[in-house]
């Protein structure tokens, strides 16, 4: 069963009709090709129309779509010889953060990602993509390893945020995130981060203090989830759509604010409609961002990265 979002209902209805017509063609031998073609055109028009003017709240739904390609799917599509590495060397291996060595178009790289999981079992295993301190400590360790062996870092961020739990606090969630940010800023190697779905707060920036930050067209990225913001500032989680608007969390807005470097266009109807095409686009965008960084030395990269983050928000006006 394909999952349709609330605002995709008219599209779902049309597609159901197309399926019916196709079945009729198969069973009754009727030639309905013209009718199917006409309806398909209508679907595409409807999709284009709907997706061209998604509200920020609708984008949040798309960014969280269950069929949207997740970090591991992205890694599987883009990285050869992926060799996962595990553990913070202290407490646990956090399955909400994946990482390891691999090759991106022949180039040896260190890959990091926040993984939400794809079904009930894997979502529980991955804690719905919300990492604990050990996850950020693993990320930091792998970024440092990348520095030692001159491996560019590629990260794929998709998280509602760091896990808010008693155990996480007890082990220093804040410190772990801070150190991961620091490791990203200090890495003497090229670092390209891509926000593929949700870029939730500290849990996202822990893996995204990068030379180049890319964002998928319908991804969101902010300091808090719309729901969280609504319940704090409006004291009403139902105000999430309003909060989403106010937070300016869309790729388009963040590009205008110069907080990200590039927006990766998604296939018509969002990445969940055609994950393979979406991942091809991500691969090209990451490659385009990475290649100019490859011939820069570590000190230059670090200095420019610092400068970039120091400049951020200084001249930002929506």
């Amino acid at each position: 069963m394909r999952h349709f979002l609330e605002f995709e209902k008219p599209i779902a209805e049309l597609e159901e009709k197309i399926d019916e017509l196709r079945r009729a063609t198969d069973v009754d031998g009727l030639d309905l090709a013209d009718e199917v073609g006409r309806l398909q055109e209508k679907v595409e028009k409807l999709l284009a129309g709907t997706y061209a003017k998604l509200t920020p709240w609708q984008k949040a739904q798309v960014a969280r779509h269950p069929d949207r390609p997740k970090a591991l799917a992205t890694i599987q599509a883009l990285i050869q010889d992926f060799t996962p590495l595990a553990g913070d060397r202290a407490f646990a291996d956090d399955h909400a953060i994946v990482g390891g060595l691999g090759r991106f178009r022949g180039r040896a790289v260190m890959v990091l990602g926040t993984e939400k999981g794809t079904d009930t079992e894997s979502r529980v295993e991955r804690n719905f993509g919300m990492a604990r301190p050990e996850g950020y400590r693993k990320a930091r360790r792998l970024m440092e390893l990348a520095g030692r062996f001159n491996l560019p870092i590629l990260s794929f961020v998709d998280t509602a945020g760091a896990f808010p739990g008693i155990d996480a606090e007890a082990r220093g969630q804040a410190e772990a995130i801070a150190r991961a940010i620091e490791a990203g800023l200090e890495a003497p190697v090229p670092f390209v981060a891509t926000i593929i779905g949700e870029g939730g707060s500290g849990g996202a920036i822990a893996l995204a203090a990068a030379d180049r930050v890319l964002m998928l067209e319908h991804a969101i990225y902010s300091v808090i989830s719309p729901e969280g913001c609504a319940s704090i500032l409006w004291r009403d989680a139902a105000m999430a759509p309003t909060a989403a608007e106010a937070l300016r969390l869309t790729a388009e807005d963040l590009k205008r604010l110069q907080l990200i470097d590039a927006v990766v266009a998604e296939p018509l109807g969002g990445a969940h409609r055609d994950p393979a095409a979406a991942l091809v686009a991500v691969g090209h965008a990451v490659w385009a961002a990475l290649t100019p960084l490859l011939d820069q030395d570590g000190a230059t990269l670090k200095a420019k990265r610092r400068e970039k983050f120091l400049e951020m928000g200084r001249n930002a006006i929506v």
């Binding site: 061209a52 060595l101 691999g102 180039r107 040896a108 001159n150 296939p267």
Partner: protein, 296 residues
Amino acid sequence: MNWISDWALPKIQGLFRREVPENLWHKCSSCEQMVFHKDLERNLHVCPHCGFHNRIGAEARIDITLDEGWQKIELPKAPADPLRFRDQRKYGDRLREAQLKTGMDDAIMVAHGAIEGRAAVVAAFEFSFQGGSMGAGVGEGLVAAARLAVLQDAPLIVFPASGGARMQEGAVSLMQMPRSVIATRMVKEAGLPVIIVLLDPTTGGVTASFAMLGDIQIAEPGALIGFAGARVIEQTVREKLPEGFQRAEYLLEHGILDMVVHRQEMKPTLARLLSLLREPQILAEPAPLALASPNA
């Protein structure tokens, strides 16, 4: 009774008995299945029924890790028995006995060669030599291995299997902990990878020094890895220890290891890691063509 039952049959049986002596069969200590010795050997001493990894010696370890043509290096002599230690027997006697039994000077063997064509220095512990314990001799071996790795611009791969520091050398043995840590630093500072493959068992002062400091930490399935022995912990905390406590899989879940790798997969895994860490660019597969997405 005729000549067949009286004479020929026992003869024939005798023949078979000689050809199939008891030691050609190995009873798996985990699943208790019988395994033909040749099959066990072919399977790198991993039980084909249950996957139990039997311990193997240092030389066999090096042989299944390095390509043909590897060379063992002579290790610098360490002062034997610095404390003139004696418990129920003289340490010196125990040492000589272990040397006779294993044909090695101490509990470590160092060799250089290649892993699927990529240069590497390998140091492997011999657990049957005084429980693979680390005294001055083993410390010398590790430092020599590190120096060789730097000299040859090759990664260092260590396979520890050790009860820990060697009690009979007292504080001299304790000092092998910082010395072995320095060995890993030397290799790392030369920009070379240190890969540690923890074997069954690795405990005490060996785990608490170089053996936890690899760039990549691997273990064989089921290997016992820890600091304090299970019995000591149980007596101290007066609690039953959890199932699988201090086993490789437990350590992986607790963040101490990067991976648990089956012995059959060990060499290809090491080769792949060396390639990823040391060969920045290989010929790329052609990138997929951009699929025309209507709103791109």
